[in-house]
Subunit: 536 residues, 2 copies
């Protein structure tokens, strides 16, 4: 605890320096404190409530009722439970996790419109219908460690996967491997910048030694020719091989021909590259072994399964002078009530907005302020792993400009007999148009597009499928939400308690659509409740 | 078989077109045949000998003696054995695999100079002392599939790992995360090229629409500002965060400050980027679960362990009019002889050059022609996985300009209690200087350098270690070999049989230092022997 406090102080010092003096001062201060290159500020920040906090204080842990058994609700009950709080969760669905949902054989889903699917995936095959990837910096990994959830690499990037643009101004409808796209784009970019640099076009920005070093970099980065050859990019084995090098006299045949500079630029493949540079998307990324729902099931197990009531739909939330009360309908249709010292509403805002409450019209308006994003995903189980055997694609993602958006190759079960692709993952308009269709039509549309990239086996080897449209899924109603503004009064209002009622969820964070957002939001509410109890 | 023949013809057609008409024609022909984007030529190429080949032919499988139980020797015996050949392997060491070697607790090594180490790694901890990564296109993966060797991702790239240059002209001795280095280099490169393009410096090379599209790409790729702001790069959250975004009002603090253009170029971080673009090194890459030696052990099991004699040092190879003979010393020191129809020498060329033979002085000269590369690696077992908990580095590689060269974070056992880094992997002069030291001094030198990047925990958390200097390892004597030329008579000579004696190994391929080279070389020899037997 002493260590945590001193860490806290150090962090406060750093932040204050950072805020007062700009990032430069912050960085120097970090170095001075021996914290450079990158301090792990986040992980040291949260101090969970502890049973020992109550010792000799005369205070006791309170009763907390949590609405929603998604990640935020589970984490709230888990963290408070560790300190002895009496937590209960009311979950409208029949499982923990919310959008963290792994679909296996036997899993079923009835959409808001009444359409029902039941997955028939083979044993060992699954799709993560919601979150599927974990960045290294997210607190989600700390929970996995604490809960014993085993991890493996999620393959968010693969040089052998394709980029497929059917509407580009050049190279249209040709699947181009990421490695080929990078070789060509980096090659031509290097050629152009080396030429311009050499010709003095950037002399106002570059010193002589800058120029020399920059050109040396570009020669390595672009695998371009030397000055005598005009720094030309003419191809490299980074593009891949049409015939693989091998024994004796087989030196390999590099994939060709190299498209022209103009065609490479017009193909738009380079527009895909920034994805892999994104803070949340850069490899390495991870997934729980066996399915993302290992996280909510581990949380539920740690909380105590008897503390979670499934099939419990909240009808009304009432703040009281000394606590709060929830009225709900249980799985048998009976209306029941529960009282607690605090209520944590960890449900999507648009769902919460429709639950009767006495928290005021401003709360309702604030809950209605963010808008839900439509999101869709389909799992396609194949009887063979043709992407591995025929195309040497072991994991990764193929982005397209078709309305399926992206195809994901599985990050588990390599070289097994069967495998399950994600045949589309998309949001916004694409998710709306697919989601409006019955499953068989979603499937047919996704497969007819996938065939353009992978050929007829994309259809002929297919055996089973399952699709989810999150915006049409009961109790959830969206993939995530977007705030018109997170600087306004609505966001601020919901980030503070309404009497004895707190709100939690990724939607109350700056990391929306990630479990990290839900977990840090839960931690904030947990800290708020505990500080209030201790101060009382 | 019919399918294989028709595939063969299609492939022959493609290759003949490729050779006659250049890669452009090849690519078009591929498209015409419905094979674009990338045909899987290699995997369809090899036709293994089969027992059925002998049916009604009046011929029978022959006896083959293989010298060396490394990957090439094992694959030779495995492939011939499937067709009924009576294969025996004489291996000088006490295990299969050669340089494919996984070191665990209890593994010992006595160097050529008599220095002995015995590894004391904890249960479940290991280091792959030789090959450690498998590209998706290599035939090695096909053997893993066929042999049931389970795979997982090898983490050859990680945005959270560092680049560490202590001798650079700027930013020296600061560990810089790959993500930060990429954000800054791509940012400034984009700024420079956008400026030059906008100012018309490349108008002879770019049309108006090229320019427009190129600048749009650069804005996405570099996360730079718009024209009004001179396309300036001023930083982005791709660099990483000093304070991670989280709940409520925590929007995060982006890591800063952004070094100047001149400093970023002078730091040399960009020179590291081409590694990840290399045909053999681009992610995704793979490793067998539990250690690389799963491959040789699976091969040995398939061959039949009784067919491999360990501790058998070849003394003499004699080509005879109707076969060949090998004299060797067995594990008890007895000199013995074995005759066979064919001998396959699958040992390093410099080792083979010293074995007495009657194959002619040209063969000896050719064997002495390639030179061995010194290679060293050290495994460091830590009592905690501080790189994961403190620095959010789950796998990947940190390159440095120190003589340790690279540090590798483990690709297995994530979030476990212990973990084993590779504390150096280097070759050439660095491997020679480390290799000359006793283990304790290698260790001290490697740790004192690692401390510069990771701090004192790099020393204080360390518990066990093991190092290998391949050039000082009996029967192997090098990490791999380099040919002054693979176009000369020496390489050609050894790629054909000397009477009844064949040579095999990665050193007889265009994929040296990879198991793919050894496996394809073995396949070539197997095909050569089988065709000779069938034609006799």
């Amino acid at each position: 605890m002493a260590a945590e406090r001193s860490t806290g102080s150090r962090r406060d010092f750093l932040r204050s320096v950072g805020i007062a003096g700009g990032a430069g001062v912050l960085y120097s201060a970090m170095g001075a404190l021996g914290l450079a290159p990158v301090p792990d500020v986040r992980a040291e920040r949260y101090r969970p409530p502890s049973r020992s906090d109550f010792t000799l204080s005369g205070r006791g842990a309170k009763k907390v009722l949590v609405l929603g058994g998604g990640i935020a609700g589970l984490a709230t009950a888990y963290e408070l439970g560790k300190a002895g709080y009496d937590c209960r969760i009311l979950e409208a669905g029949d499982r923990p996790g919310g959008r963290n949902w792994t679909v296996r054989g036997g899993t079923s889903l009835t959409d808001l419109d009444g359409r029902k699917q039941t997955a028939s995936f083979s044993k060992g095959q699954y799709m993560n219908a919601g979150p599927a990837r974990l960045p290294q910096s997210h607190v989600t990994l700390d929970y996995c460690r604490e809960l014993g959830v085993e991890l493996e690499v999620f393959t968010n990037q693969n040089a052998n996967a394709y980029i497929y643009h059917e509407n580009s101004a050049a190279l249209a409808s040709r699947p181009i491997r990421w490695r080929t796209a990078k070789a060509d784009v980096y090659g031509y970019v290097s050629e152009l910048l080396a030429k311009a640099t050499d010709q003095g076009a950037l002399d106002t920005r570059l010193t002589a030694s800058d120029k020399e070093r920059l050109i040396a970099f570009l020669q390595s980065f672009g695998a371009i020719k030397g000055k005598a050859d005009g720094y030309a990019y003419t191809g490299t084995d980074r593009r891949g091989y049409a015939v693989e090098p091998g024994a004796a006299f087989e030196a390999g045949t590099v994939l060709g021909p190299v498209p022209s500079l103009s065609d490479v630029i017009a193909s738009g493949v380079g527009q895909r590259f920034s994805f892999e540079l994104g803070y949340d998307q850069a490899m390495l990324m991870f997934q729980p072994v066996g399915g993302m729902d290992a996280i909510p099931y581990a949380l539920a197990e740690a909380i105590g399964p008897d503390r979670i009531t499934y099939g419990a739909r909240a009808l009304e939330v009432t703040d009281l002078p000394d606590g709060a009360e929830v009225t709900y309908q249980d799985a048998r249709g009976r209306v029941r009530g529960q009282r607690a010292d605090f209520v944590v509403a960890a449900v999507p805002p648009m769902v919460m907005a429709r639950i009767k409450h006495n928290l005021g019209a401003q709360v309702t308006a604030a809950l209605e302020y963010p808008t839900a994003t439509p999101v869709g995903k389909i799992g396609l189980e194949y009887r063979s792993r043709w992407w591995e055997t025929d195309e040497h694609i072991y994991g990764g993602i193929t982005p397209t400009d078709m309305d399926l958006s992206t195809i994901w190759y599985p990050s588990y079960g390599y070289q097994g007999r069967r495998g399950t692709l994600i045949g589309y993952y998309h949001f916004g308009a694409n998710a709306l148009s697919y989601g409006a269709l019955p499953h068989e039509q979603r499937l047919a549309r996704a497969v007819s597009q996938g065939v353009k990239i992978h050929g007829e086996k994309y259809r002929s080897e297919l055996e089973r499928s399952f699709s989810v449209a999150w915006h049409r899924t009961p109790h959830i109603e969206g993939g995530w939400v977007g705030w018109p503004s997170q600087d306004g009064p609505e966001y601020k209002l919901l980030n503070q308690p309404a009497g004895h009622v707190y709100f939690a969820g990724d939607w109350l964070s700056h990391v929306i659509a990630w479990q990290h957002g839900a977990l840090t939001s839960a931690r904030k509410v947990v800290t708020g409740i505990h500080e209030r109890v201790m101060a009382a």
